[in-house]
Symmetry: C7
Subunit: 279 residues, 7 copies
């Protein structure tokens, strides 16, 4: 009995000692948490504010990014705090974590597409690579952007289809709404026609369109682009306001045809030389 009591007393002393030790550790943890949390939040907000200044991101977008990062940050801190708290209470988390970790790794293999989507989505939002209502080509789809999300981007094709494109496929995006566009018309004339005359006629058409307000940098005749099998190909090049290149090209094509008809210049059909031989 005596021995037993002694054991308990000894235990009480040890216990007290342990309680004090653990209390100190917990206090240290809480204090660390209280110091680190606001500092981290401020760093995130400042970093985004700084980045947004440079890139001129809209307010709504900044809030989305800020909220996302603060969430990730808070969850991570909470997770770390809980793990360390358990560690203080000697509830051995090692094997548990190892098990969870390996399972998580196995899942990670399957979910890497998801992570990749979010990482790319984050930079899509931050770097303003695409905006809603822009005309883009990404991941084999092209059309007007309807929504840029963290995981998927919605692109409305011109035929009306709504495409849900995983952001990982949007890495490597062609944005057709960032600047003036090229209007290019290739026109074939007969090998018999006079190239100089044809180029003068075409240049006249170009001059007509120079005043067209769709054109930023007036269309001009470049010269002989290639010798086709049946025609000499001449190229006309200009720059137009964004999204107006197609109507500009269409109108130019119509006008060229009219002017060629007047000038008697032929847009040739495929030619073939036939040599007759008896069987």
């Amino acid at each position: 009995m005596n021995l037993f009591e002694e054991g308990l007393e000894f235990n009480f002393a040890e216990l007290l000692e342990i309680i004090i030790g653990k209390g100190l550790k917990i206090a240290l943890l809480v204090i660390a948490l209280l110091i680190i949390t606001p500092i981290g939040k401020k760093i995130i907000s400042k970093a985004i504010a700084k980045a947004s200044n440079k890139e001129k991101i809209s307010e709504g977008r900044i809030k989305t990014l800020d909220k996302l990062l603060v969430n990730v940050y808070t969850y991570t801190l909470t997770f770390i705090f809980i793990v360390m708290l358990f560690g203080v209470f000697d509830l051995d988390l090692g094997p548990l974590l190892a098990a969870a970790g390996v399972v998580g790794l196995a899942i990670g293999f399957g979910a890497q597409g998801l992570v990749s989507d979010i990482v790319t989505g984050f930079f899509l939002l931050l770097e303003r690579q695409i905006e809603v209502d822009e005309y883009v080509t990404a991941g084999g789809f092209n059309g007007i952007v309807e929504e840029v999300g963290l995981r998927t981007t919605k692109i409305r094709s011109f035929d009306g289809t709504l495409n849900f494109v995983p952001n990982r496929d949007v890495a490597g995006v062609s944005n057709h709404s960032r600047g003036t566009m090229r209007a290019l018309v290739d026109i074939g004339i007969s090998y018999d026609d006079n190239i100089d005359q044809a180029m003068q006629v075409l240049q006249k058409v170009c001059d007509e369109f120079k005043d067209d307000e769709r054109f930023v940098d007036g269309p001009d005749v470049l010269g002989v682009q290639s010798f086709g099998s049946s025609e000499v190909v001449l190229r006309i090049l200009g720059r137009t306001e964004n999204m107006l290149q197609w109507s500009a090209e269409r109108d130019m094509r119509k006008r060229i045809k009219e002017v060629f008809d007047e000038a008697g210049i032929e847009i040739p059909f495929p030619h073939q030389v036939n040599i007759s031989k008896d069987a």
Copy 2:
């Protein structure tokens, strides 16, 4: 003997101590479990309710997602509880878990497709990217969605084939049932025909169809789309109610042919210029 007894007595004291310690730990674990379980469930339900409000998901779908997440959550907690219980009883789980983990990892390599399917399937259900009875293109298959599952999506092709598409291949889906569709008719006229006249005739056909209730945004003539090798290609564009674009296009093509016949405008065959030469 005395010595032996002492050892046992001492052991008894230690044992008591251990039992109390273990009991405390188990109690702590049970309490933690009892507190965490319902909190987690509520968080899941609220998160899904919130997400469903935003996306207007049907009740049945919410239940499916809720049940899935609660299941995953409960199994995970149970697994953790068991592992920690074993840890308390010193049945060293470390090596066991390591072994199981590595095996699990090896399996994970092979099963990553499955995990990927489920992750994508979860978002397919949550974000309403595709719904039953919608006409979609996904993973190289296109047709009507018959069922969206966690692992596979069933798509019925127009030729009657039932395609089982793993959800991982549905990431990047084109949904053709989300809005008005484009009706586009390209029509070639002869180089000899008058473009202006042809465009006026075509516009008349378009005007006839403007009242057609299939058309949301009446068909219009865009202009000269391209110079073909034997024809000048004109383009007509309109927007129709979903899934009615094909019948609208078919009727327009029929009407255009009739009107062209009346107006004497030719849809030209391929042309070739033959130059005869003697052998």
Copy 3:
């Protein structure tokens, strides 16, 4: 000597203590095993029975799946039991397991195809995606399914070849034996023919076939599908009993040709406009 004896005596006491401790642990393990084993088996059987009710799987298939899962379950439990037994006897399995695990991982890389086959095969069997004697397209092969195994599916091509397709390639399968099939005939008529008349003639042929019991949803003329370079393409569409679509199409084509001959409607050859020019 005395000291030595004391050591041994002390050891004897300790040994007894250890033996009792180990015995208790082993007993605990055996009891756990005895409790967990039958519970797990029942859960598996019930889960499969439940799944099979929903999917109406044949008895033989249920037995296969049940046997597979019970086997995996039993081997896993046995493995865990042995590992923990060794742990009780302090035969340190840690490094051994690490070694075996890493080797297993290395093998796992190479065998992931096998695992992937089995995982997919399991779902192929459970979800009844393909059945023996169905006509499917999977993994680049198409033909009649001869056997669905856990690892490979045997598909008999129409040319008589027997294809052994790894199940991983069967993820994403097109099953052509699940419902009515489309019979589609595209027929070109001359630009000179009257479209209305041709469509009436074709509709008459369609009406003849409406009584044909191969057709579920009678063939009908859709309209002008496209303007070909030398012909106006009309489309006929119907739905037939499964696997009868080809003979139905063949008979319709034969009948259309006959009726066109009677009505004097031409199926045109490729046309070309030749313009002669002197060299």
Copy 4:
């Protein structure tokens, strides 16, 4: 000196104790090895015998598989025994194994092709997917199998080339020597010819070949397969003994040509309608 001696004496006692403990452990290991080894071998042999009964594998092949599995089994057991023996003697193998394991893993990445070959090769042998002298298509090569190995399969192409195909590429093999083969002849007739007459003539040719012993399921005329640009395509189908399909097809083609010549049915050249226009 006294103290030193006491230390040694005490050491001697401890050493004895240790030796006895180690001896016991070693004995336990050896006994375990002696029990497990023959049991495992019997299980392997029985499993292979069972599998071979089901698949009717040749004796030589059973021996190969049995030898392979027993070898793998023996090496694994020996390796485990040595590791555990070292563990008993406190020659800490942990770090060594970790080092070896990580190196092994690095190698494993590079050698996964080899492992994959052997895993597939094992099933190729066990499941009799291909046999020597069969005509197969695998991994982009087709020809006659000359040898099926654990690592590579030798396929002799018809042009005489000997292809060494890694077994991993043989997963997904088309075996052309497992059953009757299809003989298929597509034959085009003129749009001007009478389809009924042509089909009767063709059926007569088919009837001639029905007695041909190469044919298992006599050739028959199926009907109008398609409308070509210049011909109506009729299809004849039959089933022949394995590998005789080509000669059967060749002979049928020759006979069809002869009969068509007699009946005055033309196999048409490409047709074109020429419309002359002045330049």
Copy 5:
């Protein structure tokens, strides 16, 4: 009580001892940090300076790289310092790090594209593979470089599209702005024409262009490049100032056509020998 006090006293002694020990360790850590930090920074700066001397990188670029590397270096050191500090205070970071590590690994799988971008971007900047305003082809896009970033490169296509190319796709870049460019004109002459005469005529044109300041290495006639189906192809080759090759080629083509017209050399249309046969 006495025992309790003794315990405390003993603890005090131990504590003091511990405090001194920990203090020493912390001091050691801080000193190490203070020594290593500036040394590392200097090494980085010197390495970049050295590299930049060799590659002649602009000042702005050096600063970017220097800042990047110093940042990475400082963050790493801080991280290590914190981890070791925690280690000193016995706040066991092991399981925490393991958990974080495995999660990080899972993320790492998804983010490897990002890491790959940055690694490649670093070398793009350091090795001056592409510069702003250069004309390059990279990752399937070609155009003028607008910006080289750590993560993405912006390439402006000639049609006005702004392409955001992930740097990982820029590994393997074709830089078209590093040296003189080739001007190549292939010209077909009739089989009836005299090759020698044609080559002399072409060489005269080449000689005219030799004085053209666009040409660095005057255009010359190489000879008979190939026998086409209807023409003998002659090749002219020269080297021009960068980006002037197209206009040079265009002007040469125009001039060749004029000279050929004068010399009566024909650029032939496709030829065909027609053999008439009666039906």
Copy 6:
């Protein structure tokens, strides 16, 4: 002082004990090394000798393989010995090895191509899949093998190019120098010609070549291979000595043309039926 001395004395005793213990362990290690080294070498040599007997490998090649394997074996043993020696001296290698291992793993990812090359190269050498001076197709290159190395195989293309092919791309090699080769000539005759006569004429040519010593299995006429759009295709097949198939085919083609000219059998040009129509 006394206490200090006692500590040292006690230390001396312990030290001696430790030294003896360590000495024993080292001795054990050295003995193990001395026993294992020569045994392993003999096993390697015998295994290679055995393998070489079966495959009849040249002496030089055996030496190469033997040297390679003995090197790998020796380095591995030395590495293990050093690690265990360090373990004996308590220079904790665990963390070091972990660090080195993870770095090694990271490198392993990058170097897996190299490992894969060597593994495949080993089997290329051992299994004699290709030999110097053989004509092979491997990894998209074909030509004469100039050297088979452990890492790369040098293949000399027929155009003179020397291709360095990584051995991993040589897995799946077509060896064109292992047996007789096929000589195949497809020849088209007119639809108007008599097939029987043409086949007799061709068979005569074949009979002429039967005596040609290039032919191992005399050329023979197979029959009607296919109906071309303008010709009936007949096939001739034979087997020749290795590498002589091309000259045999060339000579047969020349002879067939001559005999056809004599017999008045035409090799037809593409045919077309022209139907004239007025515009």
Copy 7:
């Protein structure tokens, strides 16, 4: 107090003991380092010298490789030394290394391309697969090698573009500057021409070129390469000095055309047999 002092004294004794122990360990480490460092360097230098003797590598290249390997070696040794030093001072590096290692692994995934480049680059330099100024095809680019680096190879295309090719894409390189090259001219003659006569005429041209010093192995007529749709194709083959094959081919083509003109042998245009039919 006494107790405290005793504790300190005891500590002092222990400390001394520890200091001596640690000192010994450090000494052992330093000695090991001093012995291993120069040995390793010598081994590296000798290995490279040996390898360079065999491959005849230039001095500059040897120095590059030597420097690279010695650098890697020194850094590795320093890293190991530091880790072990820290281990001696009980600054537990385990968790730190684990953390760093996992992060490193995550980075390793992204940087594996870089590692792969360097490994391949090392062998490119060592095995002299390509040299500056050689004409090679690698990774889809072909041109003249301008620089072989550890990470990238610079290839100058013939059109003037400078391609930066990552070395991993250079594995599998075609080197066109290692030996004589093939000059091959395929020439079609009319089906009406006499093959024998044409071959004699061609052989005469070949004989003229036999004296041409560009030819190493004089051009010769091989025979009838194939029956084209409109011509009989004859092949001429020769071997020329490296890089002179194109000019040799060009000159031969020119000469053949001249000789054919003299001999009246026609290089035929595409032929077609036209059969007229009434509509």
